[in-house]
Structures are given as C-alpha cells and as structure tokens.
C-alpha cells in the first residue's frame, strides 16, 4: 500500500475536515443553552461519529487524522480560543493516528479507541479553567471578589475534568457504533464505500 498522502487524499481530508468543523460549529451553537454547554463533550462525538467513520474508510494513511486535527485546532485558535487547544488537538490527532495505524485502519476496535482519543481535543477549549487555574482565578478574584471566586472554585474541582473526559469517551463510543451502523445501512448500499 502506498503510504504517502497524494493529492486526492489531501482533498478528501479537506472535505471531511470542512464537514466535521461545520457539524462541530452547529452543535456548539446549541451549547449556548447552559445545560447543553456542559453536556457538549457527550453529544458532539455522537453526531460527528458518522462523518468521522466515513472519513476513516476513505483515506487509510498515516497523518490523515493529524492533519485534520491541526487544521481544526488552527481554526479554533484563529477564532479566539487559546493556543492550548491547538496543542491539545495536535497531540490527540497524533495519538489517534498511531492507534488507527496499529489497527491498519481496518480493525473496528482500534477505530473506536482512536476516535475516543481524537474526540478528547474538544476539551482543549475548556482546559484553561484547570491548567491555568491560578492566573484565571487571580483574575476573577480581582474582578469579582472572594465569595464568587470560592463558589466557582468549589464548583469546578479537578474531578469535573475527569467527568468531562468520561463523558467524551462514552459519547465517542456511541458515535463510533452509530457511524458503523449507518455506514452499513446506507453507504455500503449506495456504493460509496
């Protein structure tokens, strides 16, 4: 198998990245409803599972997921998120690629695990709340006073991050299975695979 990405592959990567980003964008719009904002790591990987599983059947070469995550991370950065989310995205993409590669881009088990790892990049946007905890809370304390700051600190303990990660993993597993069933039901029949 040719392991170098050729132009067709790069174009496919571009198309699926566009689709993935739009799905993400629309889903994030619903995130303005505060409850859904917290649930976003859960429902987003479910919706994005279908295009991602289709993407995996299309290219099947190392770097493809990494390029996708670099672009998504750059777009995230260019629209005003922290550079942390870019770094997280690239690291997640690279790990996911390694896992997919280990499964030869065929094994479904590897796809599920890889998709979970890839989806973790979503948390990059919220990570400053935990990583830059000190500077973030100094800022809030300056502005809002002690009582409010303590309330926020008690509401976002470190285990909250753990819950986010677990939600993300569960969402990805559901999304991967959904994607697999949809591929079987629709795309194989239509001859797209």
């Amino acid at each position: 198998m040719d392991t170098q990405l050729n132009v067709q592959d790069l174009i496919s990567v571009g198309i699926f990245t566009a689709f993935y980003y739009l799905v993400f964008f629309i889903a994030a719009m619903f995130g303005f409803i505060p409850i859904l904002f917290v649930l976003m790591p859960l429902y987003l990987p479910i919706i994005a599972g279908i295009p991602f599983m289709l993407f995996l059947t299309k290219v099947k070469k190392f770097w493809m997921v990494t390029i996708m995550s670099i672009i998504v991370g750059t777009l995230f950065f260019a629209t005003g998120h922290t550079w942390i989310s870019l770094v997280v995205a690239v690291v997640c993409g690279l790990f996911a690629d390694t896992i997919f590669k280990a499964g030869q881009y065929k094994s479904f088990g590897h796809s599920v695990i890889g998709y979970c790892v890839f989806s973790l990049w979503l948390l990059g946007g919220m990570l400053p709340l935990w990583i830059m905890r000190d500077s973030y809370f100094t800022y809030i304390r300056d502005m809002m006073g002690d009582e409010y700051t303590n309330a926020i600190i008690s509401m976002t303990p470190t285990w909250m991050l753990l819950i986010m990660i677990i939600m993300c993993v569960i969402g990805s597993i559901i999304g991967a299975y959904l994607g697999k069933s949809v591929l079987k039901k629709h795309f194989k029949r239509a001859g797209i695979l």
Binding site: L5, N6, V7, Q8, L10, I11, S12, V13, G14, I15, T17, A18, F19, Y21, L22, V23, P34, F37, I47, I50, P51, L54, K58, W63, I67, M68, I70, I71, F77, A78, T79, G80, H81, T82, W83, P128, L129, M132, S135, Y136, T138, Y139, I140, D142, M143, M144, G145, E147, Y148, A151, I152, M155, T156, V182, H186, F187, A190, I192
Partner: protein, 234 residues
C-alpha cells in the same frame, strides 16, 4: 473568508494578523489586570473601524459593553446555581478580545491571500491543500444543505415537526446522510478537476496575490511587541 476581491483601504499582511492574534491570545490568558484586557479588546475593534467595518465594530462594542456590565454588576452578587450560568458568561467575556480578533482575521482576509501567507511561512503542502479545499467547501456544503432541507420539508422533516420530535435521529438520518453522500461525490469530481489542472505537480506554484509587510504592519507589530513585553515585565 470571502473569495471575491473586496477593495480595502487599510490592509494588513495575513501574517501580521496571525501574530497579533497570538499576542492577544497569550495576553488575555496570562494577565489578570482588567485595564489590559480592555486595551486588548480595543486593538481589534480599532482595526475593524479602520478597515471600514463600522457596523460590525459597533455591534462588537455593544456586546462587549453589555457583557462587561453583567460581569461587574451581577456576577459578584449571585451564588449557587445562578453563578454557574454566569460563569459561562464570564468565560465568554474573557475570550471576547480573541473572538473579535478572529472575526477581523476572517472577515478581512481572502482565501488566496491566506494561502499565499501560508506558503510564505513554509507551511507544508499537505496542510495547505486541505485548508484551501476546506474554505472552498464551506459555501458548497451550505448550498447542498439548503437544497436537502427544502426537499425534506416536503416530507415533513423539519426541526419542529412531529416526526422529528418523536425521534430526533430522523434529523440525522434524513439530513446528514444525503449531505455526506453528495459532498463525497462533489469531492471526487473536485479532485479529478484539480489533478487535470496540475495540483499534483511537484513544481512550485505561483500565486496572484501580492502580500508583504508595509508600514502599517511594522508600526502595529512594533507597538504590539512593546506592550506584550511590557506586560510581562510589569
């Protein structure tokens, strides 16, 4: 980003915009002084004003003022569940300078300018091509999506119809899958078309866009780096 060349009176190099973005991004998440943040918001709004995007900049000023008022007056007096909601507002408020800068970056840069800049900073082809394809595809996807949406309306599948409320998965199955299929097909055609036009060639490609650093870039970058270094020493 737009494709059509809009005449601009005040033009910055895309690389300058990206660098300013970086400065603002790093500053708003490391400095906790309220006045610094306001200055950081003023930079992109000023840039929007001088590039004659007056309506947009007024909108941003309004949004920013409202958020700031909510932040100063309501947030310290709440507790319990309300403050969870307001924490989201606070987070949003804090990221605001970045959002405005992002809006400026995207609304005033054309796709080919952006690609020319990417080539100048030696971003490899394997990232440039997908990016170009992606920007080209956003309008295509929304067109296709509109067509599918109107077709599905005839069958009674909209956001608020009884059928979708009963089973939200219908929405994904009837809207997303046809869209994915048509997008994949269009993509195949696009790659055939661009291969015949020599995209796979290994020769260095030329670009019609002229970008470069001018006086305004120098001034802005100088100011930005001075303030940036100043904040960190201070």
């Amino acid at each position: 980003m737009q494709n059509v060349g809009v005449k601009q009176y005040f033009k910055l190099d895309p690389r300058t915009k990206l660098l300013l973005m970086f400065f603002i991004n790093v500053t708003i998440f490391n400095v906790s002084n309220r006045y610094v943040i306001v200055v950081m918001t003023a930079i992109p709004i000023f840039l929007l004003l001088v590039s004659r995007k007056i309506k947009a900049s007024l909108c941003w000023i309004l949004i920013y003022t409202i958020l700031m008022a909510v932040n100063i007056h309501f947030v310290p007096t709440t507790n319990g569940f309300q403050s969870v909601l307001l924490a989201a507002i606070n987070m949003f408020f804090r990221m605001m300078p970045g959002f405005i800068m992002g809006y400026y970056l995207i609304s005033t840069t054309t796709v080919s300018e952006f690609l020319a800049a990417m080539e100048k900073i030696r971003v490899p082809q394997s990232i440039r091509i997908p990016m170009a394809v992606m920007f080209r595809f956003f309008p295509t996807i929304s067109e296709e999506s509109k067509a599918i949406s109107s077709a599905m309306q005839m069958r009674g599948i909209t956001f608020a119809s009884r059928r979708t409320l009963k089973n939200p998965m219908v929405m994904i199955e009837y809207r997303m899958i046809p869209l994915l299929m048509s997008i994949v097909k269009i993509g195949e055609e696009l790659s055939a078309a661009s291969l015949t036009r020599g995209l796979g060639n290994s020769v260095k490609r030329t670009n019609i866009c002229k970008i470069g650093f001018h006086l305004q870039d120098m001034v802005l970058l100088l100011l930005a780096s001075i303030t940036f270094i100043g904040f960190f020493i201070y």
